[in-house]
């Protein structure tokens, strides 16, 4: 279990006054203080950790966010920003003495500018909501995390979310132009805008992925892209993880960058097939989903090249999608992977380390050994082109020993990722979950440097503290 710090007693003692102060700043429906109504905010996508907050506020405007932060800053109250609460690392986990600033009511699309290929949206707009708003004109917003139906762009900025198409289109930070942020002192600042490459320090870069610890994002200017003429997926099934990994290397080495290149091992294939009925090959040890873009003719050319490469690796089967519906079914299995694993195991932890792709066979072998050692099943799903692993460790939350083993297993996997030259988290963020592993990747000096950047934005450490930095380092 990851330890939570003690709440500030003086804040708990002033609870009623703090809530009364918040009620003066927001409409009645904008402040939640009743225990029964606070309950839904006690956790996020990392459900093993729960804590009911002091209160929840639901501001509707940037000005309301600013007023709330100014007040809480003055009162010395901790703040936990929250989008849809889909974080898999506990990024939105409250504290008993903290006020959750939930941004779901900031849900309007303010501007769509096709000529300049950008859109201005409020932080509580869902990821898919942006694409839905522009797809009639043939445009889309590129980062596509699996949670995209629910997750909000403000949270995507906080965590620098990725998705299945990053290899071609990049992650959140590569697809932003500007932000409106509110500092902990309640100042409203515009960062960037509709233009490229603002001069000065790269505030957009440092804020993206800062896990709500530097400022609260209320508006985001995103790049929107014109979609390709079409896209098609193919499935390639192989006799071992090693062979599938070598095939990934060969595809990338050939000069083709597929828009997506996803890898699933045997347990993942079975779980997802039972859920999606996408026709995944159940006799395979490993499977790749490979997607290409372009006109029908271009898709054919690229898929022919990829098929020829796959043939060199003794595939069990190769199947090119014949229709948009078939491609959609193929993706349904992959995007529903977490839900699918949820059907075969009462609970699971989703890991998120990244490794150099050349180390893949070795890492998968060692994960299998750990799985046997801990007596816990694991399904591996990952973005093969960029080495971002998502081992899903299955456990039973009703059995505390099973949970502790799962956490230790996860920590071992992430430590292994760092050992082979990778990192603790590719797209889910550090949050609470990986906080105490930061010392595996960074020296004390490096953590101190990161901490001083937080100091510059939030000297009192009121914004989403208790995340990212090991508690000992926070106290230093």
């Amino acid at each position: 279990m990851i330890r939570q710090p003690d709440p500030k007693q003086d804040v708990l003692d002033r609870r009623d006054a703090i809530i009364a102060g918040l009620r003066r700043l927001l409409p009645d429906s904008g402040v939640i203080a009743e225990p029964i109504r606070l309950k839904p905010y006690e956790t996020d996508g990392l459900t093993a950790y729960r804590q009911v907050p002091l209160a929840v506020v639901l501001p509707e405007t940037t000005e309301q966010v600013a007023a709330v932060l100014r007040f809480l800053h003055h009162e010395g109250v901790r703040v936990v920003p929250r989008g849809a609460g889909t974080s898999l690392s506990g990024g939105a986990l409250p504290m008993a003495d903290a006020v959750v600033v939930a941004l779901m009511r900031l849900n309007r699309i303010l501007d769509i500018d096709y000529a300049d290929r950008c859109a201005v949206v409020q932080a509580g707009v869902t990821n898919i909501g942006i694409t839905q708003a522009v797809q009639e004109s043939g445009f889309f917003y590129a980062p596509d995390p699996s949670s995209q139906l629910a997750c909000m762009i403000g949270g995507n900025v906080g965590m620098n979310s990725g998705g299945a198409h990053c290899l071609r289109y990049g992650v959140t930070s590569n697809n932003l132009l500007g932000l409106k942020i509110v500092t902990i002192a309640g100042e409203v600042l515009d960062i960037g805008g509709a233009h490229l490459d603002a001069a000065g320090y790269d505030w957009l870069g440092i804020l993206t992925g800062s896990e709500g610890q530097l400022a609260v994002v209320t508006e985001v200017t995103v790049r929107i892209l014109r979609g390709p003429e079409g896209a098609r997926a193919m499935l390639a099934a192989f006799r071992s993880n090693e062979i599938a990994g070598a095939c990934v290397d060969a595809i990338i080495g050939s000069g083709i960058i597929p828009v997506a290149l996803e890898f699933m091992d045997r347990p993942a294939i079975h779980a997802c097939e039972a859920f999606a009925h996408a026709g995944y090959p159940l006799d395979a040890e490993a499977m790749l989903i490979i997607e290409v873009e372009g006109s029908i003719g271009e898709q054919d050319t690229l898929l022919d090249r990829i098929r020829a490469i796959c043939h060199r690796f003794d595939p069990i089967s190769l199947r090119v999608s014949a229709s948009a519906e078939e491609s959609q079914a193929i993706w349904k299995g992959r995007k529903g992977a977490f839900g699918a694993v949820g059907r075969i195991s009462p609970d699971y932890l989703c890991m998120d380390g990244t490794i150099p792709t050349s180390r893949l066979p070795e890492v998968l072998r060692r994960i299998a050994e750990m799985s046997a050692g801990y007596g816990l099943q694991v399904a591996n799903i990952f973005h093969a082109g960029d080495g971002n692993l998502h081992p899903l460790i299955m456990f039973d939350a009703n059995d505390p020993d099973s949970f502790h083993r799962a956490e230790r297993f996860g920590a071992d996997i992430l430590t292994l990722c760092v050992e082979v030259g990778g990192c603790l988290t590719g797209e889910h963020g550090v949050g609470v979950e990986k906080r105490d592993l930061m010392g595996v990747q960074f020296t004390a000096t490096e953590l101190a440097q990161q901490r001083r950047i937080k100091d510059a934005f939030d000297p009192g450490w009121l914004l989403n503290p208790n995340k990212v930095f090991p508690l000992l380092a926070q106290a230093a």
Partner: protein, 399 residues
């Protein structure tokens, strides 16, 4: 020179509070504000490739490695430095610095990106990892050598484009991508800036993955041999892909752009020559006076040009779909004020890229920040460099 020696030099400067000017090849000393420093820290000798893994799309090099050497190494594996950094030596014209001498440390320090930026991101988008020495003489690593990494604050991005004011870069890991088999371009002629930006928006809004979108007025196009034969202003959209795709896409794009006039298709060799010239700002190489780079939302570009045109007669051309305006004009405070006002009115950003030292020292060379943000800038500077010894005053007076 080793990283340990750089650490020792910075630690000593920190202890004695001695300001340092950090120099790679020195090709960008003419950019931004002149640095007042007692000493220079020359890092060009800290060079060499430390990792090249083409199948993993990564390359690492010590900061003093020249861009030319790095480009050659990745090209040997059929790959390229995706952000297409310009060589500004023809523009800055420092006789002490030979062309193509710039280091990867300088490119990353200045976050310089070329025409491909509009489609594939800036240099900052391709920096996967850095090793750097902060102003306390401490080694700081951020990021790593993998393509996806959100572990801790993204110091890579903060250091990219910080012009050596936060830390001395010692090693950089870049994401690289396969170089396209073929280039091709669609070239429209005779458009005015507003028509050109509309055409480029249509091109960038097409499904054909346009990777460059520039407009050169007649005077600028005449200075680029690969374009001069077209006669008049040239509006240019680039496709890079497999040969069959380039043929297909340039053809389709030319058809889509028919409402803007008849278009020529430039072949691979002509495209490469034309885009290299756009990248390195060749049309302004002969221009006297000051040079600015203005970045605005593309549709605001023509208005910015018109506003500046009312203040002085500028030489110019546009890249990034009209969003990036390269400008040359008189090296005067009045001209600088006009550029600032026009870019500011369009909510854009700007940089004084070339000017006599006196002007660079006297005016803001990049937009001043709002007071609350300027306070954060000062705090972040202090978080890296508490004694203000690294390239002091390079970006802002007093920072």
């Amino acid at each position: 020179m080793t990283e340990a020696e750089i650490i020792a030099a910075v630690a000593e400067a920190h202890a004695s509070a001695t300001p340092l000017e950090i120099i790679g090849a020195g090709s960008k000393r003419g950019l931004l504000r002149p640095v007042q420093a007692a000493r220079t820290l020359a890092v060009a000798a800290h060079s060499g490739i430390t990792l090249h893994a083409p199948k993993e799309l990564v390359v690492s090099a010590r900061a003093g490695t020249t861009l030319r050497d790095l480009t050659a190494i990745v090209a040997s594996a059929g790959q390229q430095i995706t952000s297409e950094p310009p060589d500004l030596s023809g523009l800055l014209g420092d006789p002490a610095v030979p062309p193509a001498a710039q280091t990867i440390g300088g490119v990353v320090g200045a976050n310089l990106s070329g025409p491909r930026r509009v489609a594939w991101g800036a240099t900052r988008d391709h920096v996967l990892g850095v090793r750097a020495v902060n102003g306390r003489g401490e080694l700081i690593r951020s990021g790593g050598r993998v393509l996806k990494n959100v572990t801790g604050l993204d110091i890579c991005k903060l250091l990219t484009g910080s012009h050596g004011t936060l830390a001395v870069l010692t090693e950089i890991t870049l994401k690289v991508l396969p170089a396209a088999e073929r280039w091709g371009s669609v070239a429209l002629t005779g458009l005015d800036p507003a028509q050109a930006v509309a055409a480029l928006s249509a091109a960038l809004g097409s499904p054909y993955a346009v990777s460059g979108a520039a407009h050169l007025p007649a005077e600028a196009a005449a200075l680029v041999p690969a374009l001069a034969w077209l006669g008049g202003a040239v509006t240019l959209a680039r496709i890079e892909d497999f040969a069959t795709s380039v043929a297909y896409r340039t053809d389709r794009l030319r058809a889509d752009l028919a409402p803007f006039g008849r278009a020529e298709i430039l072949d691979d060799a002509a495209s490469r020559a034309a885009w290299d010239a756009v990248r390195d700002a060749v049309p302004l190489h002969g221009a006297a006076g000051a040079v600015w780079r203005v970045s605005v939302r593309p549709s605001a570009g023509p208005g910015v040009l018109a506003a500046i045109g009312r203040a002085f007669a500028a030489s110019w051309f546009m890249d990034w779909g009209g969003g990036l305006i390269w400008l040359a004009g008189p090296a005067t405070t009045a001209a600088h004020d006009a550029v600032m006002a026009a870019a500011g009115a369009a909510s854009g950003t700007w940089m004084l890229l070339r000017a006599p030292e006196g002007l660079r020292a006297a005016v803001a060379v990049i937009p001043p920040e709002a007071p609350a943000l300027a306070r954060i800038t000062a705090s972040v500077k202090a978080a890296f460099d508490p004694k203000g010894i690294l390239n002091p005053g390079r970006m802002y007076a007093g920072v």
